[in-house]
């Protein structure tokens, strides 16, 4: 408990010249790589004025893309939150065979290209895929439809919640749960009243990152979407379609929504890190 709450004083090295150069380089890179594109996005989106910008967002295809993005995230994120908690719980509180295999599997989506993450679903559920004929016989659509988008998004965003929780739960150990059990609590009560409150901020943090990625995912979703306007285009895909049509205001207007999502996520993430650093995993402490 003391280890979790006390923070080690940071060792400071005094190298004035070097520090200055490092800070300058970091700021320049940050400005060039992050702030400049952000500026360009909003600048291009508002190039022809606010009415045009709003018009581009009110267009039926844009509305449908926003809806679809929200729908996919609304399904994928809660599912991944549940999977993530379950996986983190299993890995950090129990000893079992195949634990390291599970740990590797959780990280897999990080290490493979999103295009592959999309392609596997096509190979499984596409018309020529393993279950393609069966799906066709039962009049079910997975690829080029919402289920495919959800599956691809789930696969790509799977690690976020679990990765956030595992170090924290490992550090907290299973003693509090054991204590709750000896005090007469059932397994479910223990989870609800002891485990969940202890991980709530880290869980929120993981969900936040998971959500940002789920809404912004392009590669995997692109493979399974089929780019049917107004039907299977999510916001990032919508941006691409418009951009390829030389509709730069429309493309950047849609992109500005994603950028806005990014900024909101960043702010919330910072607030979480600032207010609850002690309850996030040790590696997240500042």
């Amino acid at each position: 408990m003391t280890a979790a709450t006390s923070s080690e004083p940071m060792v400071r090295v005094r190298l004035p010249g070097v520090a200055l150069v490092m800070v300058a380089v970091s700021v320049l890179v940050m400005a060039g790589l992050i702030l400049l594109p952000l500026y360009v996005v909003f600048h291009e989106a508002l190039l022809k004025g606010l009415p045009q910008y709003l018009e581009a967002l009110k267009e039926p295809d844009a509305i449908s893309a926003i809806r679809l993005t929200l729908l996919v995230a609304a399904i994928a994120v809660p599912l991944n939150a549940v999977f993530g908690v379950a996986a983190a719980w299993a890995i950090s509180k129990f000893e079992f065979r195949g634990k390291s295999v599970l740990l590797t599997l959780i990280d897999l989506p990080f290490s493979i290209s999103p295009v592959v993450s999309g392609l596997v679903w096509v190979l499984l559920f596409g018309a020529q895929g393993l279950f393609g004929q069966w799906l066709l016989d039962h009049d079910l659509k997975v690829i080029f439809a919402v289920p495919g988008l959800v599956l691809a998004t789930i696969l790509v965003t799977f690690p976020f919640v679990a990765r956030e929780l595992i170090p924290l739960m490992q550090q907290q150990g299973a003693d509090e749960e054991a204590a709750a059990l000896t005090l007469g609590a059932s397994g479910f009560t223990t989870f609800r009243r002891v485990t969940l409150p202890n991980i709530r901020w880290a869980l929120l943090y993981g969900v936040l990152l998971c959500n940002a990625r789920a809404m912004g995912e392009f590669g995997a979703v692109s493979v399974v979407s089929g780019h049917i306007r107004g039907l299977t285009n999510t916001l990032p895909l919508h941006v691409e379609v418009l951009y390829n049509d030389y509709d730069s205001v429309g493309a950047f207007a849609a992109a500005s929504l994603l950028a806005g999502l990014g900024i909101v996520t960043l702010v919330l993430k910072t607030v979480l890190e600032w207010r609850h650093s002690g309850e996030l995993s040790a590696g997240r402490k500042h």
Partner: protein, 325 residues
């Protein structure tokens, strides 16, 4: 191994790390399953009961307080998780919590969080939380392990008094022999998962069953000897063999402070004094006996004048123990 705790007894499980004492405690609590064997409580098969039905109060080595709950919520936890039918009312829970806070002398701290308490206070909260469920048995895992020496000694007395007042069978695990001997009604000494000896602190200390126990319970000096009939001979010193000593070649153990000094022509083991140093209340005497370097301990005021570096004296172990080799 087989071990039985008596009703309302304060039983210590003592052993070096890796001796299986914590595992045994966790088996009693139901947090671990034994590969074989049985656990009975009042004749009831304990292994058939899940952890939460056993009603054992456990205090963990690092207390395992619920970090997001206040002291009061921690103590009340065991009462609030009861099924609705058996759950006491809000006012009753509050009354119990106040009562327990009084018992562990933490009045006024009910709104604090565990992170705002000292180690000793956390430990007492953990104890109050365990007592709240009116446990049939109290299990303490290294209850003083994470505290500093001063707090440790204070809490030890206090815990013993608490046990006597609460009147609940208590089993506690420790690797500190002083703690076990000081606190417990009976001490069970474990080694490599085996019960080596079980008995009252004094009985165990004065008659260790094996060289391991002798060594573990305090400092030990060791010499070879021979028992013939009722006589124990070590080098040129002969004395009465202890009750029930094995015949033939033996290992002789004695405590470095359970000795008497005699002049060089008296009775005892011939010793050559190498150094004498005052160490707080004790005097440490480095000497060579039968070619073996030994550190003996004398108590200041009773040290004979003849003991000084370079002198030869006789050392007479007052209570030698012998073990077959």
């Amino acid at each position: 191994m087989s071990l039985q705790a008596r009703d309302k007894e304060f039983l210590a499980l003592l052993g070096p790390s890796g001796s299986g004492k914590t595992t045994l405690l966790r088996v009693l609590a139901g947090l671990e399953e034994p590969d074989s064997g049985e656990v009975r409580f009042d004749g009831e098969d304990f292994l058939a009961l899940p952890v939460r039905k056993r009603k054992v109060g456990m205090v963990f080595q690092h207390y395992a307080l619920f970090r997001h709950m206040t002291v009061a919520q921690n103590i009340a936890f065991g009462l609030t998780v009861r099924p609705a039918r058996e759950r006491p009312g809000k006012a009753e829970i509050k009354r119990r919590v106040t009562e327990l806070l009084d018992l562990v002398q933490l009045q006024g701290l009910e709104k604090r969080f565990p992170s705002q308490l000292s180690g000793g206070q956390r430990q007492r909260v953990a104890l109050a939380r365990a007592l709240a469920i009116e446990p049939r048995m109290l299990l303490l895992d290294e209850p003083f392990g994470a505290l500093d020496a001063q707090v440790r000694r204070e809490l030890r007395r206090w815990l013993r008094e608490l046990h006597d007042r609460a009147g609940v069978t208590t089993v506690f695990v420790t690797h500190d022999q002083e703690e076990a001997l000081d606190l417990a009604d009976r001490v069970a000494i474990l080694k490599d998962g085996e019960l080596v000896q079980l008995g009252a602190p004094n009985a165990v200390y004065e008659h260790p069953a094996t060289p391991f126990v002798f060594d573990f319970l305090g400092q030990a000096c060791q010499l070879p000897g021979i028992v013939q009939g009722r006589t124990l001979t070590v080098a040129d010193w002969g004395t009465a063999a202890p009750e029930g000593a094995p015949q033939g070649a033996v290992q002789v153990f004695f405590r470095p402070d359970e000795i008497a000094f005699a002049p060089a022509d008296g009775a005892g083991l011939a010793a050559e004094v190498l150094a004498v140093a005052q160490r707080g209340p004790d005097v440490r005497i480095d000497c060579r006996i039968e070619g073996v370097l030994m550190e003996l301990i004398g108590h200041g005021p009773t040290l004979p004048a003849g003991v000084a570096p370079g002198l030869s004296v006789r050392v007479k172990p007052l209570r030698p123990q012998v073990y077959a080799t």
